[in-house]
């Protein structure tokens, strides 16, 4: 790295210096400073990288975690319910129309339900529901089902209904407006709510028997409050004859928990970012302060205030920029790892965070360079050179 080995004769040196572009002195000073004090420079750069990485990871998580948590909240089931106005059935193509709506995000699940009150052999009334089992299973994760039906003639029986219609899981008969149907029990359904007193049947089988078409569609749609609202407006246009209702219990619970989590995460992320900025500040101030002799020599040789300031500022900015770029990629890696570890789903790298990290790193680096320089400016170069 030493330049002396490449020097030959004074002529050659003079020649080379004459040919070299004038601006390169500035660049050369920057590079030499970094090379000659590589350990200190590396320490300062490392602090920069770590700070940028931590900041990137935090910002990435802050943006991504909300989407991740929303997905978790969809396990609570439907957040929008579509019912026919005044208890009427929905149009036959209602489900298809709902599915044609472009919901926010790719995940939207619509499950039709139709209801009828049938009678058991001994005259007990029981609610029978027709639905699509594959979809209901995806929507209602909390349903505890001993065995899902795999044959249209099989019914899913709520635990309380089972004690009435089929205590020993034997085949049973139901009648609806005089029309009987023979059913076997596939499994038991337990939810702790109204479903426990109902009997669930496959939709087409149910419709053949009762002639009742779906009156309710439960929709789980993933997105922010505003996205869900616009989705509901879209549904209202597609299905003018239906009532579109938000499930307030689910929507408000979700908003509440999400807001609190977001606020906590925001506070923590701010603290972490501030601490890492502090780390950069401490290291970089040391690095600049440590070079007060360079500073003094430059001034003694007649460098203007502007040049000296510009030199240290450029140096700090360059360090900030390099640190930000390297730190950004490490930070993305950390965020992806956290996403895997905690949510078992990959975190999408948010490159939109980069400008903030980049600008922030350079700003912190500049502040940490300018503070010691303003302190040094008051001191005579001679005193620094004398080692005082």
């Amino acid at each position: 790295m030493s330049t002396t080995s490449t020097l030959h004769t004074p002529n050659q040196v003079a020649d080379r210096r004459a040919k070299a572009p004038h601006a390169s002195m500035f660049t050369r000073m920057l590079l030499r400073a970094a090379v000659l004090r590589r350990r200190r420079a590396a320490a300062a750069l490392l602090a920069m990288i770590v700070a940028a990485a931590v900041a990137t990871a935090m910002m990435n998580l802050y943006v991504d975690v909300q989407a991740k948590l929303r997905t978790e909240f969809r396990n609570y089931g439907a957040n929008v319910v579509i019912v026919g106005k005044d208890g009427q059935s929905l149009p036959a193509d209602a489900l298809a129309r709902v599915e044609s709506a472009t919901g926010p995000g790719s995940k939207m699940l619509a499950v039709p339900f139709s209801y009828a009150v049938a009678r058991t052999k001994d005259g007990q009334s029981v609610v029978v529901v027709g639905t699509d089992f594959t979809r209901a299973r995806q929507l209602n994760h909390w349903w505890k089902v001993s065995h899902w039906p795999d044959d249209p003639k099989q019914a899913l029986i709520g635990v309380r209904a089972a004690t009435v219609v089929s205590p020993n899981r034997q085949p049973f008969e139901l009648t609806f407006q005089g029309k009987p149907i023979e059913l076997t029990s596939a499994g038991m359904l337990q939810t702790g709510a109204g479903e426990d007193s109902r009997i669930y049947l496959d939709q087409s089988e149910f419709q053949n028997w009762t002639g009742v078409s779906p009156s309710t569609i439960e929709v789980a749609v993933n997105g922010t409050a505003a996205e869900v609202e616009s989705f509901m407006r879209q549904l209202a246009q597609l299905l003018p004859s239906a009532d579109i209702r938000p499930v307030r219990q689910i929507m408000e619970g979700e908003a509440n928990v999400l807001n609190k989590t977001r606020a906590t995460l925001y506070a923590s992320a701010t603290l972490v970012v501030l601490t890492s900025a502090l780390c950069v500040l401490a290291t970089l101030m040391g690095w600049v302060f440590d070079r007060r002799r360079d500073f003094a020599i430059m001034k003694a040789l007649g460098a203007s205030e502007r040049l000296v300031n510009g030199f240290f500022a450029t140096e700090a900015a360059a360090m900030g920029a390099v640190g930000a770029i390297l730190g950004f990629f490490i930070g993305i890696g950390v965020a992806v790892w956290i996403g895997r570890a905690n949510f078992h789903a990959p975190v999408v790298p948010r490159f939109s965070v980069f400008p903030y990290v980049f600008a922030g790193s350079i700003a912190v680096a500049l502040i940490s360079a300018i503070l010691p320089i303003t302190m040094l400016r008051r001191i005579q170069p001679a005193m620094i050179l004398r080692g005082e």
């Binding site: 948590l69 309380r160 307030r248 219990q249």
Partner: protein
Amino acid sequence: MFPRIVYESFRHQARRKLLAGIAITLGVAVATAMIAVATDIGDKINRELRSYGANLVVTPQEDTLDVEVGGINLKPPSDGAFLNEADLPKIRGTFWHNNIVGFSPMLPVTVKIGSGSGAKDITLIGTYFNKPLHFGKQDFTTGVRITHPWWKVSCGDGSDKASRDCGWPADDSQNVLLGERLAAKLAKRPGDTLEVASRQLTIFGILSTGAAEDDEIVAPLALAQQILGKPGAVRRVYVSALTKPQDAFATQDPNTMSPEVRDRWYCSPYVQSIAYQLQEVIPHSHAEQIRQVAQNEGTVLSRIKGLMLLVTLAALFASALAVSSAMATAIFERRVEVGLMKALGAGNLAVSAIFFAEALLLALVGGIAGFSAGALLAHQIGRSIFNSQISIEPVLFPVILAIAVIVTFAGSAAAIRRAVKFDPVFALRGEG
């Protein structure tokens, strides 16, 4: 001599010491606040999850099937079994009574509205709104305002400002809430009267829930009991309880457990064990978890807790780095001093000892200041985000102090070693 060197060092280099001290204080403050928040977040989010409503329901043991379609109850009103309202305050007497946030009894009654051919069957639900009760020496209030926080009452004119004759009815009044869709259908407003079962009831507010209650009338429990003619009757009770995420142990059958295992199960706030205890205090009852609410809170809770743990680790890492880089910088600046000491005959050990003693002092002072600042910060976060106190365990104090000392030492060690190894001649000449 040793204490004097340290003392003088603090006296003459107050500015530098202050910088390092500030770095340690801030680092410790952030670490304390984050640890406090992370240890408490589970409890806080658990409480927030209660905004999803009750996670347990208590029904009579010998109940007939519910026959309810689209909010209309087709079951004959006097059919089936009832719970006794007088038993409800006993819910506060269960082992985990502090975990029970609230409960609401429900008594649906089918009533006829209007007369002649225009008469319609409407469900009237009797419940507690915010009823004062007492059990033993405890006084408490409970009702749907606690267990069903998404129920909103408005005055029908778009404003939700409660006034003297509009809002939540009193539990001992003859006033009712009208579901918003029913109100629109009947064209009724708050202040109007409604004839229900030959009683003139005043509509006190319009209720919006986004569920079946929007088509129903909600009344104080006592009124519903009068209409039904069954004083003290309750059809079901919704209980909102703070629970621990369930695991394999939670789902075991308590009747097959050995006494010690059963005690452990009984004394864990699992939703199953709370259900078991509710059954014990309310005679002839069956308590069941509402799976939609109860099953999901565990996952959400563990996700948020895991996230905060990782963020806390990041915070600890960042503050450790900040402290150690501040220390390294502070020591690096003092090479001349080291050179002088060594030139005067000080050994490496003596020089290192001085630096470590200074670091220890800084860490202790910064640790104490940082712990107080961090406690304040955690308190502030708790207040502004969760409207409640974030408690700081006193046991955290020695732990934090120990961490501060260790991190300060670790951060200083490399710098001290380099400062000690540095040739005193160069250092004194000011080259380095």
